[in-house]
């Protein structure tokens, strides 16, 4: 394992984040808004997850040298 190159780490990271983004968006809206006082768009936590993942992918892109 010590001889492995580093690039698979970045590939794994990208696939992990993309997988979580897809899973988040497939969550039924009723679960995303469970117990929320209203259904205003900003309360949809699925999109909070997607925004987080976009930022993470950007960071790993910058520090992939």
């Amino acid at each position: 394992m010590d001889a492995l190159p580093v690039w698979p780490a970045y590939l794994f990271t990208t696939l992990l984040f993309l997988g979580i983004a897809v899973a988040s968006l497939r969550l039924p809206p009723a679960r995303a808004f469970a117990d929320a006082p209203d259904r205003r768009r900003w309360r949809d936590i699925r999109w909070w997850a997607v925004a987080l993942i976009v930022v993470q992918l950007g960071l790993y892109g910058v520090f992939s040298g």
Binding site: V6, L27, R31
Partner: protein, 485 residues
């Protein structure tokens, strides 16, 4: 110390104590003390989560880690946190909320057995005691570096201040003071980043000077043969096991989400914390890199951040940053003693006595908070002998995080895991992790191997032992992507 710095430090300490004591007037029973009366809103909880997480090992230790390995240290804040925080927000927090529990061991007790609850609470309490000791040692080290206070004076002063507001105000005091502490921490961190980059002649110059002598310090992943953070270990051990076990199973972290005023507030708080977490490396990793660029003369890496504070910031700002450091460290101590008192009161004593006593639990909880704090203060002076504090805490975590995560995942998402299987995995997985660590394995690989071991054992034992009745599992299993759940 400049008089302006002194005014800021003393003013902060007084304000924190007064806030905690005032919140203590609202505490009438154990629900108020341990869950803030289920009244907390999402952004307070989110800030408190970060305050609890960015602690001794996070602030001082991560700066030291960055000094040694570079931006790869930020994996603990990015891939080693964000995926697990999203998982916690979408799956585990709703699960615990629906189960109506006070603690993670209480959930494990309901899902598996009271023996599992007792064992999990005992393991988590012992770990917490060490973690609080680490936090006290780190704060004393900072005080020694900055004010030349002897280690024992720093420990006593910190313990007294934290004890005053934590014992009186419970979780509400802990959460509100954490929120204030995190805001101060970010203000101080931003000041360091701005002044540091300015001192280095701009961001491009900073990066050039850093990689000139440390070529891998701006690479997120280190080679597979790196002695401390090999990338396969980071991916398999940290991202797949240690991080989900921490963010989905840590009592100190999740207790404040159980004190939320609604399930949505609880879930949103973790997402909000994840946004803040993304920025945390700017505050805790950057100073370590800055110490390298400024060619700091320090005895060991954990002194990188105190050195930067002392040598870079002008009077006033250095006082603010010093307060930020104290604040970050205090928030891990207050959360640790409150959550450990909860586990000892309800999950250890409660199981052994087999009856609920809300008023008695409140009195006992306060006394236990004091006892745990005193025990950690006694332990703290010896922590310095144990090497880098970040690695020390992560090594402790790797002892039980693998088996714990297997119990949580199979318990939360499947109906087939049985009480006997859960007990077998926890009771044998922790000694296995200890044996692997003792034989020289990297902690990241230990976490992954013991997680796989516990998963397989639970599946095998569950085939031959009786599960819980289906009716009992209704509120204890949660599959949010399944419309029938």
């Amino acid at each position: 110390m400049h008089v302006l710095d002194l005014v800021i430090v003393v003013g902060y300490l007084l304000a924190i104590v007064v806030m905690g004591v005032r919140l203590g007037r609202r505490v009438h029973d154990d629900r108020d003390y341990f869950l803030a009366g289920r009244s907390l809103t999402w952004w307070i909880i989110g800030l408190s989560i970060i305050g609890t997480n960015v602690s001794a090992e996070g602030y001082v230790g991560a700066a030291g880690g960055a000094y040694q390995v570079g931006i790869a240290q930020a994996n603990f804040e990015w891939v080693g946190a964000i995926p697990a925080m999203i998982l916690a927000s979408l799956v585990f927090i709703p699960l615990y909320w629906r189960a109506g529990v006070y603690s993670i061991p209480e959930y494990l007790g309901a899902r598996y057995s009271q023996a599992v609850r007792l064992l999990a609470a005992l393991i988590a309490s012992v770990f917490a005691l060490f973690a609080i000791g680490v936090a006290l040692w780190a704060i004393a080290l900072t005080l020694q570096t900055y004010l030349d206070w002897p280690i024992w004076v720093g420990i006593v002063v910190t313990g007294t201040v934290v004890g005053l507001y934590s014992i009186s105000g419970g979780l509400a005091a802990v959460a509100f003071t954490d929120a204030v502490q995190v805001v101060i921490m970010f203000l101080g961190g931003v000041a360091i980043v701005a002044l540091g980059i300015s001192e280095a002649g701009g961001a491009a110059s900073f990066a050039d000077r850093l990689v000139a002598e440390n070529p891998t310090h701006l690479s997120a992943y280190l080679p597979a043969d790196h002695p401390e953070f090999p990338w396969p270990g980071v991916v398999l051990g940290l991202a797949i096991v240690l991080s989900p076990a921490y963010w989905c199973g840590s009592q100190a972290i999740l207790q404040r989400t159980l004190g939320a005023r609604s399930q949505w507030d609880a879930s949103a708080s973790m997402m909000f914390a994840a946004f803040a977490k993304t920025l945390v490396p700017l505050l805790i990793v950057f100073p370590g890199l800055l110490a390298l660029v400024m060619q700091a003369r320090i005895e060991y890496p954990d002194m990188a951040l105190p050195w930067v504070v002392r040598h870079l910031l002008p009077p006033g700002l250095s006082g603010l940053m010093f307060v930020a450091l104290i604040a970050a460290l205090q928030s891990s101590i207050d959360s640790g003693i409150n959550s450990t008192a909860l586990m000892m009161t309800r999950d250890i004593r409660g199981v052994l006595r087999r009856r609920a006593d809300p008023r008695g639990d409140l009195v006992l909880g306060r006394w236990l908070t004091l006892v745990i704090l005193l025990a950690a203060m006694a332990l703290a002076p010896f922590i310095g002998e144990m090497g880098g504090i970040y690695v020390f805490v992560q090594t402790l975590l790797s002892l039980f995080q693998g088996p714990l995560l297997a119990l949580l995942v199979l318990g939360a998402l499947t109906r087939s895991a049985t009480p006997a299987a859960g007990l077998a995995a926890l009771a044998t997985g922790v000694p296995l992790a200890g044996a692997l660590l003792a034989s020289g394995w990297n902690m990241l690989y230990v976490a992954f191997v013991t997680f796989c071991y516990a998963l397989v054992l639970i599946v095998l034992v569950s085939r031959r032992t009786a599960p819980l009745p289906a009716a009992d599992l209704e509120r204890l299993v949660y599959r949010p992507w399944s419309r029938g759940s």
